[in-house]
Symmetry: C2
Subunit: 348 residues, 2 copies
């Protein structure tokens, strides 16, 4: 949140579109065998041979999906890639390429785009995806990022949302709710800062939550972890909008109901402390807070022994018949109908 006011600023207009694209893309390297031709022509050329191609796309808008007053541009670039890579991982596929399109208003200097690109480049390198194309143009207001991710998998590996069956166990990777509470902490500090700009935020008690918000990771490791456990997931989705919302997607598309156990939902101790501080129920946050990018999936009941002690995963419920409905079983053993209260970009 500290800014050097004497940074060099280069206007985008002085460069022009082609030079800007050249400048911003010169550090992208090709590492995937399936990338035949990356940036620099009308289109990229890819070779997936006998593998199937998996494609997902996301559009991120300043003021809707992110706030640059506490989201550093490098983190934003990183997170934008993660969100798309996560969708590919949620198909139980291997992410391989991305395209990145940007629209920026003239208030952004070149150096800001370089920061953004540094985050994109870092994420691309960590996740081993090639940046193979994109578009750079101006916007009337703010920053807009559109990323399309491609991945590969064999047909029997690919896991849809619609494969869950009655009796399957519901499993989640990692822990939930931290990214959302990280955002609440950052928004509170922003307000404090606006009242008194000399107040430097003390964020030591919130590091995990803030990291989950500013630098989330996609669970690219889950595919390999499950392969080693010899578990084939029956349905899978990533948690971008919140556990409730994603679970209801699986139930709807698989034509099943579910029982989700409140006491089983994995929550980090830091989240519990901060929820107490904010006087918010941590289960509500874990159910409805988005942007965790963990994977939610179902497995056959028979696979329970293979996964039960694995530190990467938590069994949080099971699937029931569709007419039994979708429920949360609380710690007090009462049954509450699950509702999707996840993020809705279109609400006013």
């Amino acid at each position: 949140m500290l800014e050097d006011k004497n940074q060099k600023k280069t206007s985008l207009a002085s460069l022009g579109e082609f030079k800007l694209i050249e400048h911003l893309t010169k550090h992208f390297t090709i590492s995937q065998e399936s990338t035949i031709k990356g940036i620099g022509d009308d289109a990229a050329v890819l070779d997936f041979k006998e593998k199937k191609v998996v494609v997902s796309t996301d559009l991120l808008v300043e003021g809707v999906h992110f706030d640059l007053s506490y989201m550093p541009l490098k983190h934003l670039g990183y997170k934008a890639v993660v969100a798309n890579v996560s969708d590919i991982c949620a198909m139980n596929a291997q992410p391989t390429q991305i395209t990145v399109s940007l629209a920026v208003s003239n208030r952004f200097p070149l150096e800001a785009l370089e920061e953004l690109m540094a985050g994109i480049t870092l994420a691309a390198s960590i996740y081993g995806v090639d940046v193979i194309g994109g578009d750079t143009t101006s916007s009337q207001k703010g920053l807009i990022i559109s990323i399309t991710a491609l991945g590969e998998a064999s047909l029997d590996e690919i896991t849809y949302r619609n494969g869950a069956q009655v009796g399957d166990l519901l499993v989640v990777s990692g822990d939930l709710g931290a990214a959302y509470m990280g955002l609440q902490v950052l928004e509170r500090e922003k307000q404090v800062f606006q009242v008194n700009p000399n107040n430097q935020p003390i964020l030591d008690d919130y590091t995990y939550l803030i990291e989950r918000q500013l630098k989330p990771e996609a669970r690219k490791d889950v595919k390999e972890l499950l392969e080693k456990l010899e578990i084939k997931p029956t349905a899978m989705i990533d948690i971008s909008d919140g556990l409730s919302s994603e679970l209801l997607h699986i139930c709807k598309q698989s034509h099943v109901g579910c029982n989700l156990y409140e006491e089983k939902i994995p929550i980090d101790p830091q989240l519990i402390n901060v929820c107490e501080e904010f006087s918010i129920d941590s289960t509500t946050i874990a159910l409805n807070g988005g942007e965790d990018y963990e994977l939610l999936f179902t497995i056959k009941m028979d696979d329970y022994d293979k996964i039960k002690h694995n530190p990467n995963f938590t069994v949080i419920g099971h699937m029931v018949a569709e007419n039994e409905g979708t429920h949360l079983i609380t710690r007090a053993n009462t049954k509450i109908a699950l509702k999707a209260r996840g993020w809705n970009a279109l609400e006013e």
Copy 2:
């Protein structure tokens, strides 16, 4: 430009993101053999078997790339698809799938998005591409459309910008400059309309130009036409930013120069008339006006006899050694250095 003020308006917020996506995508059908799974999961799944995959992406921003005061939404949706399909055609590949992401401000009612989707659906159906995914979210200002197109081709069919050789002939499909002058006509009529809203525009003399601006077509037919002529292009690009700009891309990437003959540049008679009316040089428009979505390509000199009388194509120049430079040979037989003066989204 006439608007029925009594149209039914449904607010996007009243629907919510998931219902909106369901509503807008329900008419998309799958026609490509390579589409295994379209909309409805974390990602789409495609099967290109032994073919290579070609990927291109575009970001269109209201107020930068289009003006809704004279661009009807249905035409806009159509044109957005065409611009992307055109990039795939420019690789000498077959367009097969697109993803469509939209960000809209709350001022857009559902019915406006339906119009936009009707144009997208029409273009997808005409070009035989499947809509396999996307994202729908809100914007702070205006409408933003991001489209990623995929296509397929065998490796020996794919034509890059960098394959032109000294002695190759330079060929263009269709005619040039009309889309740009169509835009000039529409902008003039908009100004007239702003002065006196009762003035109904008389556009009979401009129908071809306006159609080229509002409903351009991608030259998907060129690949097949060239196959029938038994011509394999050596380099290819689509004309979105203007002939000069695109030709310079081919020259730069192929490390060659060029001689482009002014008298050979194909121009529609309506363009000549309107250029006279506007007191603009038609060659300048043909060189620098964008959005024609014709294909510019090079072929071996030996193929000249196969193409010379074909009504779809015009030979407009030839490639020379890189150190001879890039020139326009005027009707007066003077040699002028070619400059890219195409559209630059980032200029203020």
